[in-house]
Symmetry: C2
Subunit: 320 residues, 2 copies
């Protein structure tokens, strides 16, 4: 089993590599080779029995993936992307990395006859937008209100069409907002969704910029990685007729997040969260859908977190 | 008012040109210039006061539209496309004409600063597919099951994003199945939807390859052209948040079509339709959605046909 990962030096890429190395197998077959691609060279995994290549490549360069595809990988995780803020700021960059590079990857699979290669891509809740219903489901239209979501939605369509034509075995998972991300706060509008839990758990102060009744649709990093792995294991036929759908996150309010924080870490932890309303952030995140009926994902065996407590406890366990 | 039309030599392009010449104005302004683009040179309209250019161009050639965009047209009708059968047969051709050329047109508008230019594109019912609900609405997902529909759906997303960013004023209309098309039967699976009315009205035989309880969502060519014209006249702000939606067709069964034929042209006309079930055609067209709640189109003032009788009578009127 030869697995290629683009964006392998990123947040999800690194966690996925570690999980794959821990398991040693995917879809019942021993992992014998890993090709890790990122513009930043990913750390080389040193595991007996697994041949690893870490390639520092810009996936937007024409033909750059040809030698990799020539080796006929069994599974490709396509995680390289520029995130929402960057894609909004620079339309050309976003189109090139998020869309053109995905199209080139599909064309590469076609050119190398990789009809059976499982290509797993991560899409995003940012692909939704517009006049959304109260509860979204697998047939809710994608009317993205940002270029990142537009590019992801276009990739979904293209991956679906190449897969329908039998040129590759593509699968797209739309990811909920991920919490608790380790590390530091970042510029993402959703940064607080990790901060208000992570910082207090690390005895630090956090700022909550949104009203506590705000709802979000969230998933822990651990469950996202499990979903990426499961995504390579579900049989091909189960993905038709449309090979992209939302993963089963859970709907939570900010108040519930703080309550769960109190249950696990005490009232003092909760008191470290300062409430400083930020209209700009609130305006962005209050447009994100928070309630989904994720029937297709569940039918295909994808699993979400049980509750916030489980998410917080997993973070504490992994940190130590 | 300078209007550019791509695909101007085609079925809808030619009708649109004639309608625009008849009106002499668009959105309250006199039409002073028409630029007709097609790979086949469109017939030159000879109308006093309107400067016309008929350019035989392949819109997939990089930069080919630059001189046209340099002239800063007020309205662009983008109708050039390869239709569903051709796009399914040749993925590269479909991607090039239906998607890449649309993207290049958007990029051209951006490069020439045509933020206020109204760009109207025709999408299709073929963009729908998969596990559709009984009645579709403006929030029904596009899960196309053919490459043509995929390419149209990708164009919708891109036009929406460029318009949201203020780079152009894009508008996309999803067209129902058009009936009654003049001319001869063609290779389209939907050809019968015109044939079973047109041929008997012309005292010819027709074959009906589908069960008479089959439902379709249809619009007359006249109403489609009216919609294209109205599409250039609706104010920009009314199109957000998503600038593509279905036009108000009417839902009809084949039985109702034949009944209306009988009412207008008598039992003898109906008797010219032979029923020869064709499983292949039935399989394709019975997957097409036939019931829509077209709330957005109606809110924006788009109008459909009243009934089949009106459609048939308009065909007879225009023919004579
Ligand atoms: N983390 C989330 O909350 C979230 C949510 C939805 C979707 N996603 C998607 O999941 C995937 C992984 O996300 P992440 O959180 O790990 O992001 P990340 O930014 O940590 O990782 C992306 C990686 O892609 C690499 N990359 C960017 N441009 C490249 C190029 N031209 N060539 C080669 N490598 C390039 C970056 O160097 C980075 O290491 C992305 O596709 C992202 O859009 C993430
Ligand atoms: N007629 C329908 O039932 C219907 C339904 C839904 C959508 N549409 C869309 O409406 C538009 C017009 O449809 P139509 O019925 O008039 O089709 P048509 O085939 O009659 O016209 C399309 C025109 O595009 C031109 N063209 C194709 N490739 C070109 C290229 N590379 N460069 C320049 N010109 C090129 C063709 O020469 C043709 O004249 C198309 O975008 C079509 O997808 C039509």
């Amino acid at each position: 089993m030869h697995i290629v990962i683009t964006g392998a030096a990123g947040f999800l890429g690194q966690r996925l590599v570690n999980q794959l190395l821990d398991r040693g197998e995917l879809n019942g077959k021993a992992i014998t080779r890993l090709t890790l691609i990122d513009q930043v060279e990913a750390p080389r995994p040193e595991v007996a029995g697994i041949e690893s290549d870490c390639l520092a490549l810009d996936i937007t360069v024409p033909g750059v993936l040809d030698p990799v595809l020539q080796a006929r990988p069994d599974v490709i995780y396509h995680l390289a992307a520029v995130v929402s803020g960057a894609a909004e700021e620079d339309l050309d960059l976003g189109m090139r990395v998020n869309f053109d590079a995905t199209r080139a990857l599909l064309e590469g699979c076609r050119a190398h006859g990789l009809a059976g290669t499982r290509l797993i891509m991560a899409s995003s809740v940012a692909a939704y937008g517009g006049d959304l219903p109260e509860v979204l489901d697998d047939m809710t239209a994608l009317h993205p209100q940002n270029s990142y979501g537009t590019q992801k939605a276009m990739c979904e369509l293209l991956i679906n069409d190449y897969s329908r034509r039998g040129l590759v075995d593509g699968r797209v998972l739309r990811l909920p907002t991920i919490t608790i991300r380790p590390g530091r706060p970042n510029a993402a509008a959703s940064s607080f969704a990790s901060s208000i839990l992570r910082e207090p758990l690390n005895d630090e102060e956090a700022v909550c910029p949104v009203p506590t009744d705000l709802e979000m649709f969230v998933m822990s990093p651990g469950k996202v990685i499990e979903a990426l792995i499961h995504g390579a294991e579900v049989p091909r036929a189960d993905w038709a007729p449309f090979r992209a759908f939302m993963l089963p996150g859970i709907t939570v309010t900010v108040a519930e997040m703080l309550e769960a924080l109190g249950e696990v870490a005490g009232a003092e932890a909760v008191s470290r969260v300062r409430h400083e309303p930020d209209e700009a952030i609130t305006a962005i995140v209050s447009n994100w859908p928070a309630r989904f009926d994720t029937a297709k994902a569940r039918r295909l065996g994808f699993e979400g977190d049980r509750d916030l407590r489980e998410i917080i406890e997993a973070f504490i366990r992994e940190r130590s």
